[in-house]
Structures are given as C-alpha cells and as structure tokens.
Amino acid sequence: MPTEAPVLEVQDLSLRFKGAPANIVDGLSFAVRPGETLCIVGESGCGKSVTALSLMGLLPRGVARVMSGTATFAGQDLLALPERALADLRGDRISMIFQEPMTSLNPSYRIGDQISEIVLRHRPVSRVQARARALEMLERVKIPAASSRLDDYPHELSGGMRQRVMIAMALANDPVLLIADEPTTALDVTIQAQIIDLIEDLQKESGTALIMITHDLGVVAEIADRVCVMYAGRAVEEGPVAAIFDDPQHPYTIGLMSSVPSVGPRSGKLATIGGMVPAIDNMPSGCRFTPRCPFAGTGCETTPALVELGPSHRAACHYAPLESAFAEAAG
C-alpha cells in the first residue's frame, strides 16, 4: 500500500438536492493516493455520480447544494474554490471520463481539434504544437492510423474508439487525478476489455490516481486497489480490494455479491436483496439499509459509524462481523 499523501482527500461530504428532505450523499469520506485506483461501487441512485460531479464543480447551480464537507486536492478545498480556479484545474490537473462517449464529445468538431483545444486552454503552446500533442495522445490510446483520424468527426468512430478519444482528451495534460464514471458500461464486453486494459496501462505509465465509478463487481475486481461500497448516499464499507471480496462485512456488500450470477457452473438460485433502494423522500432514519436488511434488529435505527474490522478495512454495520452476532444460523 502506498503511504504517500493522498492526491485527493474527501471528508464528511454531504450533498442535497433542492427541496429534498434528505441528503443524496451523506457524510462520505474517502481518499485516493498517487497511482492508486479507488473504485466507488453502488447501484443507481446511491450518489456515486453526484459525488464525482461535485468534486469537479459540475453540479448544476441551484439544483444541488454542498451541505458540508471538504475535498482537499493539492492543499486546496475543491468545494470552496471559485469557478475560475476550478476551470483552471479541470482538464488539466483533474480530468473526467463519462459513460456515454457520444454525448460527451462535441459532434460538430473534429476530434483532433477537440483534443488540441484542451491543450491550448491549459498550456502555453502554439496550435501546431497542440495538434502534435493531439496526435501523440491518439497514438497513446492506440487508435489505428491516428494521423488520418485526427480530422474525423465523432460520428465516424465506433463506440470503443470514441471512448479512446475521451481518454486521450482526459490525459492530454497529464492530470494527477482521473475520475472515470462508468467508462465501459455502454460498451460491448470485448471492447470493454480493451478499454480497461488501456486505462490500466496508461495509469501505470503516468502514475495518475484513478477514481473509477462503476456498478460492475467484475470491473472492480479487475482494476481496483481500494473499494468504497456506497448505499443510499453513504459509504457502507471500504477497504483493499482483496478484503472486500474475501472478507465482505456489510450485509449490503454480501447481498450484492451473492446476487451476481457467476460465469462458473450454476450453483442454485441467486440470492436476492428484497425490496428496492429507498426514495430520497422516504429515507429510513438510522442505517439506510435497514428495510432491506435480513440482519436488521435493535440498534439499526441509529446510524452506524464506519468501524475498523481489518487492516484499513471498515464497515458501517452494528452487527459486523455477522457470524459472531448470528452464530446460531452459521452452522
């Protein structure tokens, strides 16, 4: 485990949509170190994407509000920076890759120009130099015949190629932190494998810290160093990837893992988590997983804190570790 100072340290982040009675992200803390990959896992509505947007200062003004918390990046609090300073950071020191490459590229500009633009915005270079950098980046993301692709429009590229262009843009200024929000969800499996290989290789080369937001446990197992499992706006468990998979502690993590079908031989029916994610106007008090949790009991009406259960492995459950609390059923 790297022990260097974190690139980004988020503490007690809470976000709320205008008019909502509860926080969409509630008291979230995590850190990511240089060269490290942190995966934030969770299902729709758990607040993982909103978190990313808030760090980038991309939450629509007047719609969502930061209620509390700090996000320390290079000595500055991202959540308190003025728009101008954020604009200088974005695409330079911090970059983001989105899920849908078609809607995040401008359809009416050539891809070479879109990559050059991001270099020109942050670097004192000429147009020619910026274009050379764009070409270099297209080659680094392994786009075949890169020089002839510079003048293509996004619609002329396949989904996988577009995502490569997005990655080229994101890395053009050698950021120290890359945030990727479901970057392979819209892609086919064979293309997904290509893109994940590419992200891993580039990260190794550049030492960029990576925050990967995903719902796919397979992708997490493949790429993560550390994992943060989110449920209904809160981190319910976090730790090194091996600990999360080998020693899952929170009932939600356990339920999530046992409801994913395996590619190995079938072993009976899938386990399921009953019910569904609570709506924001109907958040249970205390532990938000209570209504769906097969282990819920007395005490769950108070919010559990993240408790250390192993080396840098923490879970927020009153009953963890479960086998000691529910010994009778374990045999």
Partner: protein, 366 residues
C-alpha cells in the same frame, strides 16, 4: 436434426432479414443483412439464449422467431407450421402463444394506461373471459410477479425499473403464452433487482410450462439461466451448444474471445485480457468468407475465401469454423471463478438463510 416434431416448438430454415435497400439518385441500393441464413431449432420447454455484441443481429433474430419481423428469405416454423407468410390476421391468433418482454421497462409500457388495463388488454384480445374474470386474473398475475393487486389502479410512472419489468412480464403472461422472448429483460436493472427478476422468470417458466428465448449480452446471466446457447457474430450463428459444454470448452475463436473478455468478480482471477483487437466490421460490407476472419487470431487464406458451414461436432453442438479441430487443443481453460474465501462463503450462506427467514417481505414493497 432428428428431433420429433412435437419436441420442436420453433424452427428456422436459413432465415434472413435484410433492411434498407432503397435506391436513390446518387447511391446504388445498399442493404444490411442483419440476420443471414440462420437455421436453428428451439425445443419445447427449454431456455434458449442468443448472445452476441451490439449489432450482431440477436434482437432481429428474436423478432423473426415470433414474427414481429417478416423474414426476407427462409422460413420460420412454429409447431411445425410455416408462419413466415401468414397474414396479419392469422398471426394475431398466434400472438396469444408468442409473447415478448422488452429491454426497456420505461418505454415499453403505455404511460396513459393503468397497470391493470395494461395487463388486461391481451386478455381482451385473446380470451373470452368476462370483465370480472379478467379483473380477477389481473390480480392473480400481479401476485404471481410479486406485486400487490392494489397496484392495478396505478400508472407505470409510479414504479421503479424492476417493478415495471415485473409489469411487463405480467402483461406477457396474460394471454397464456407458450413462448416468451425476453430481449435483454434484465440488462437495464440494477444488480440486486436483476437477481429478483431472473429468479422470477425462472419460477414462472416452470410454473407455466414456458419455452423461454433469452437475448442477452451478459454472459454470466446466460450461464445462469440457459439450457442451450447460440453465439452470434455479424448476423450469423458461429457456435451453438448446450450451456455447460459451451462454457467448459468454447470451440469457435469468437466464443473463446468473448469468454476471455468477461471480467471475473474476484480479485484473484485477474486475467481479463483483451483477446480481440479492433471493432466489429460494418454489416453493410461484411468481410468475405468467414465474417470473423479479420479479427481472428487463427485466420488463414481459406478463411477469407470460403465461408465455413456449421459442423456437427458433438451431440447437439455445431460450430462454424474451418479450423475448430486444430484450435480446440490450445483453447484456454474453462472460464471459472476462483473459489471464494471461507469468510465470504460463510457470510453468503448466512445472508441466504436470514433472507429466507425474513420472507415474504421480498419483491414488492412500494
């Protein structure tokens, strides 16, 4: 194939679907063969899956199987009768037997109809039930799919994705079908809800004696649910095999690559390697010979010249590759998840036991 007719429920003979082809002043006619000469047999009562990447023609094939699309060439047989040339009116009678569950539960339900009306509609068309009987059946079906009968008076927008998919399934069941086609029925759902719907489909299948045709891109879902699997690439079936045989030893190089690309949900199994370079070629201008040859690591001259015909390689198993025998030996070991740790297994078991004790609170809390 030597199956007795009564065991076959659907059969296709070299079925082809072409789209487009309108000639314009400036361009010659171009058409895409989304499905190209596919022959297969679906057995009564099985779960038959079609897998492939976007644009491989799997959804088109599924629609051809139940005549939601009319084939350009070839024939589709249902219960031994050719249905490819039936009129709309004749088809309408068959629709009772052949139902469809769509991928997107947000766009496949009419937002202006109540849930009750949506589920009742197929009964109005296909059955002679009275109004009261229909209402009763609606309540029954809602119960079956794990929703409260009182939901019949609500509108689709009041429900979550998983619940809407349940409504779609109840509607598909309403006419008393024999075959249900699910076109990516769980891919728009979150993992925990996906598992609920997968279990529901399996329960209903055995309860109602259904034949299930499943279109999916998620190989884990396919492995979990299917009896037999057809792998499609660019409009053609490259391999068709019983589920376990396919996953234990994929024979076609494309199937092998697909399997290698699955991310395994275990950090100790990090092995995923992009086995395939490049993208799927445009179906407007498919490669000559074997359509997979430009991306195939084993391709030879022969592959670019001659199209391989599906060879019977074992019981109930075909593969369309010139070199399958040669490459069978250096096929990678079967896709497997490394065993979980004791701690994980123990807690998974505990979770199952506790969940079962807590039933029946599953599924449908509003």
């Amino acid at each position: 194939m030597s199956l007795p007719t009564r065991d076959k429920i659907i059969e296709t003979r070299a079925v082809t679907k072409r789209f487009g082809g309108r000639k314009s002043l400036f361009k010659p006619a171009t058409s895409v063969s989304a499905v190209n000469g596919v022959s297969l047999t679906i057995k009564r009562g099985e779960t038959f899956s079609i897998v492939g990447e976007s644009g491989c023609g799997k959804s088109t094939l599924a629609r051809l199987l139940v005549r939601l699309l009319t084939p350009s060439d070839g024939a589709v047989l249902y219960d031994g009768n050719d249905i490819s040339a039936l009129s709309e009116q004749e088809m309408r009678r068959l629709r009772k037997d052949l139902q469809f569950v769509f991928q997107d539960p947000f766009s496949s339900l009419n937002p202006r109809m109540t849930v009750g009306a949506l589920i009742e509609e197929p009964m109005k068309v296909h059955t002679a039930l009275t109004r009261t009987e229909r209402r009763q059946k609606v309540a029954e079906l809602l119960n079956k799919v794990g929703l409260r009968p009182a939901f019949a008076n609500r509108y689709p927008h009041e429900f979550s994705g998983g619940q809407r998919q349940r409504i779609g399934i109840a509607r598909a069941l309403a006419s008393g079908p024999k075959v249900i086609v699910g076109d990516e029925p769980v891919s728009a759902l979150d993992v925990s809800v996906q598992a609920q719907v997968i279990n529901l489909l399996e329960d209903l299948k055995s309860e109602f004696d259904l034949t299930l045709i499943l279109i999916a891109h998620d190989l884990a879902v396919i492995r979990h649910m299917s009896d037999r699997v057809a792998v499609m690439y660019l409009g053609e079936i490259v391999e068709l095999a019983p589920n376990d045989a396919l996953f234990d030893k994929p024979l076609h190089p494309y199937t092998q690559a697909l399997m290698r690309a699955i991310p395994i949900a275990s950090p100790h199994g990090r092995s995923m390697k992009a086995a395939l370079l490049g993208d799927v070629p445009s179906p407007l201008d498919p490669p000559s010979g074997c359509r997979f040859h430009p991306r195939c690591p084993h391709a030879t001259d022969l592959c670019s010249r001659e199209k391989p015909t599906p060879a019977n390689v074992a019981d109930d198993r075909t593969v369309a590759c010139h070199h399958w025998e040669k490459i069978a030996d250096d096929a990678q070991p079967p896709v497997q998840e490394p065993p979980r740790s004791n701690n994980a297994e123990k807690r998974f078991a505990l979770f199952r036991t506790r969940s079962q004790q807590k039933e029946p609170t599953t599924a449908a809390r509003p």
